[in-house]
Assembly symmetry: C2
Homo-oligomer: 281 residues x 2
Amino acid sequence: MAELTTLEEHRCFDGVQGFYEHASEAAGLPMRFGVYLPPQAREGPQPVLLCLAGLTCNEQTFAIKAGAQQHAARHGLVLVTPDTSPRNTGIAEADADWDFGTGAGFYLDATREPYAQHWRMESWLMEELPALLQRHFPLRTDRIGVLGHSMGGHGALTLALRHPGRFRTVSAFAPIAAPTEVPWGQKALRGYLGEDRAAWAAHDAVKLIEGGAKAPPLLVDQGEEDPFLATQLRPERLEQACAAAGQPLELRRHAGYDHGYFFIQSFIADHVEHHARGLAA
Amino acid sequence: MAELTTLEEHRCFDGVQGFYEHASEAAGLPMRFGVYLPPQAREGPQPVLLCLAGLTCNEQTFAIKAGAQQHAARHGLVLVTPDTSPRNTGIAEADADWDFGTGAGFYLDATREPYAQHWRMESWLMEELPALLQRHFPLRTDRIGVLGHSMGGHGALTLALRHPGRFRTVSAFAPIAAPTEVPWGQKALRGYLGEDRAAWAAHDAVKLIEGGAKAPPLLVDQGEEDPFLATQLRPERLEQACAAAGQPLELRRHAGYDHGYFFIQSFIADHVEHHARGLAA
């Protein structure tokens, strides 16, 4: 069987937006992801922007709704959009809630049963997927940036902080900045990691920064009319932690904008440019 | 009860993307539509681009997938995205097929039962909706352009040809140009209008142009890898009819592109600019 299955490919801004599946060793199941190859990829390998989506999303959501391809085509960036969890795991309770389990992998490796076997998003994204991408697409895995939205913003921040040097550029839209302190994060961390609060802290951007972890300068956009701002996202905690630790952060608050992709598409040009500049340097 | 119900509103490119519902007299049922108000609408009424979607789409599809708001915001155009049919009509057979009935109104008034009562898309779009919009939004119904995709491309062309002077600008992506000659169109025209072929011809862009109907200069984009190109769309028939009748047409064929929104978003900037220029003149 081929290592990679092509599900769809569409010409888009003179490049190709594809969706693919492979038998993931990390997850022990088929995993899906999207790849946008800009026109420059026909000339040779290009830098990569890993785009991590939020709760309930899949590998198509960001590719369909964010409007990022036009900017990736201009700058010559490959966009990679992974699914947000394993699917069809046979674990009935994993499908019960929209904010935990299926579609809610939180970009970590679960240690608690019944999730430990399949919910290994961090291993998949940091080890298996880059190697697979390198074998099949014209891209440079030595020049990767990471961007994420909401749960994916948490993913972008924590993966960058947990793996120094792996991402040259980092940005987020409305990230879950302090998951150990909010309901979405507590539910996920308890569900995937059990009751050990020290294990939780290792997947909390604020706690990681407070503990001395470093990341490239962070660009974070947050809508002021985001209904989850105070209860789930808490960007002020990120601001405090970065200020105290000397971690560069540009936090932009946007009046009137909410949590969804109409917000993301309004500012995606700035993010892609931020990554393109950093990845070209 | 209020004449208009706001379902959602989201800040987007400094404007507002909203979705609304009203009790339609034409359809005898609640009908939904989207409105994007660009930032310029805060200063006063702006020209309008009516955007008609294709089979299976609803009032959100074009608003979510086409990436048009950024360009509408730049040019000061209001975008209106109507649903593609009445919904919840109680007619079981209307939900049986994806290419007829629900989600497939074909932008005409049905005369055949059981569709004649509710499937009155042309009356809704040409009479009731503009008046409603004029009462509730800062827009200029004397400056309207129309754009459509696939079934919506058929809608844009036929509504412009059937209502001279109502639309100042017209464009389409992959329109069903000759519905009387292809399976999608024949199924819809038979289903909504019965067996009278003369009635069909009145809703066929090619036949209308051959019969002497005129429209503003047409901009049409077509992907050459569109799987429906030969069987359902037939842009060459539009090209022939326009050439014979002296109807201005710019038909652009794009190598590698298919039928979907990854194609549309790649060229939407040109379309919005085409309408903005014509509507400002």
